[in-house]
Symmetry: C2
Subunit: 225 residues, 2 copies
DNA sequence: CCAATAGTGTCTTTGAGACATTATTAA
DNA sequence: TTAATAATGTCTCAAAGACACTATTGG
């Protein structure tokens, strides 16, 4: 068999929205290389694992697998100098989770805008994850993956704000999401967000696609400086 | 270093449109495994190659690298049973080339609709490539990558027909592509396609994105049966 | 003259963009 | 009463969808 042998890892770009800010889950590396620097969580593919299996296991080891979070493959990175230990190919994955009370495992939630210097080529993987998430919010109902099982339209709208850097008009946004069949299922209950009028609660319907898409301003202000 | 070691390959989903039909470049395998069956062209990553480099080299070895064809990473496939020789991860790539006078190298152009049984998991990789190409024609100017350096609007429209399985209305299509700044640059010359009125020739402009996108009928007839 | 292809204009309809006020609750 | 948040309707405008005829060439 021609060609080199590679170690194969999976890395995770885990996003959540905390206080209206898109955050990514990072770990501080304890061992070299890049000891003390921040990196995406991840690890090597084991045994007979497939890639998504390995990514799911890593997610579980972080403490995030209780329920079915969104997880998809992002892309592979194999530059020969990306890891000083040798030839390591990593398959980046994108995971979207709701805001959690505490950072899972030993990780920390860092606003994406402040995650500019990362170990390895993780800044590039993160940038690709951000772009993927932004694009998918246009064509899919995936914003709900950032929300708890029940949520209001306002919460959903703030997801878009955090990911895109622009706050959609509340009336147009409401019109769009409520007129997409199967996106939002009303629960009939309301919830008060502290003070102010309580909002109507929904949970995710079976719809996965937005037709036609909700296009972001291509020239919108970018929350990653 | 924990985890198995993998051989890493790149496989190519090379599309062209021949006689109005979306075709994929395949090879007949000579050696086991899957000797005699059809497979995507590809090979192992060598030396200090990055993934795109390896895919570009494979494209060159096929005889397709003379000019800059479109080439992008599609995704990685690493199911433990995908190759009986052992643990091999392959990174699928998508390449789009204009219709060529002869099949390059030892390959054959097969209509995608007839490429249902392939070696390894290549049917899955092909299916993902088809879906990627279809989606990208909505949001990008990539259809021109299937065209020779100079082409008519009719030719471009037939690309959409071949990839999507639906023929856009000529007036609406013309309106859309000509009103996208930087998509089509008129050459001022005309060409006769056998008989009938000659068409105006264009070449690709610098635009890469279509804003807003040209959406395909989500319920369109699927040319892959 | 006929067959084949290129090229074009208008009306209708759908959906996005912009915009301000009222409703409901906690403090 | 005030402050905070949720909810909603209309007009305008941009773009897609539908639709048929004329122009130009080769045979």
């Amino acid at each position: 068999m021609r060609g080199n042998l590679f170690a194969v890892a999976v890395d995770l770009v885990v996003f959540t929205v905390r206080d209206g800010v898109l955050c990514v889950l990072l770990r501080e590396r304890e061992a070299p290389p890049f000891a003390g620097e921040r990196a995406l969580p991840g690890g090597f593919v084991r045994g007979r694992e497939d890639l998504l299996d390995a990514a799911g296991r890593e997610l579980a080891e972080i403490g995030l697998a209780i329920n079915g979070h969104h997880l998809e493959q992002l892309g592979s990175y194999a530059h020969p100098d990306r890891d000083p230990r040798g030839r390591i190919l990593t398959v980046g994955h994108l995971a979207l989770v709701p805001d959690l009370p505490e950072p899972p495992g030993e990780g920390l939630w860092l606003p994406v805008a402040h995650a500019d210097t990362l170990a390895f080529d993780h800044a590039q993987i993160l940038a690709d994850g951000v772009e993927r998430a932004r694009a998918k919010l246009e064509y899919t109902t995936l914003a709900a993956a950032f929300c708890p099982p029940e949520f209001t339209i306002s919460q959903l709208r703030r997801i878009y704000e955090a990911v895109w850097g622009t706050l959609p008009d509340p009336r147009n946004f409401s019109r769009k999401v409520t007129s997409t069949p199967g996106f939002l299922v009303p629960t009939g209950t309301k919830v008060s967000s502290g003070r102010g009028r309580p909002g109507q609660l929904f949970h995710r319907g079976p719809a996965t696609m937005l037709h036609p898409p909700m296009l972001r301003d291509h020239a919108a202000s970018d929350p990653t400086p």
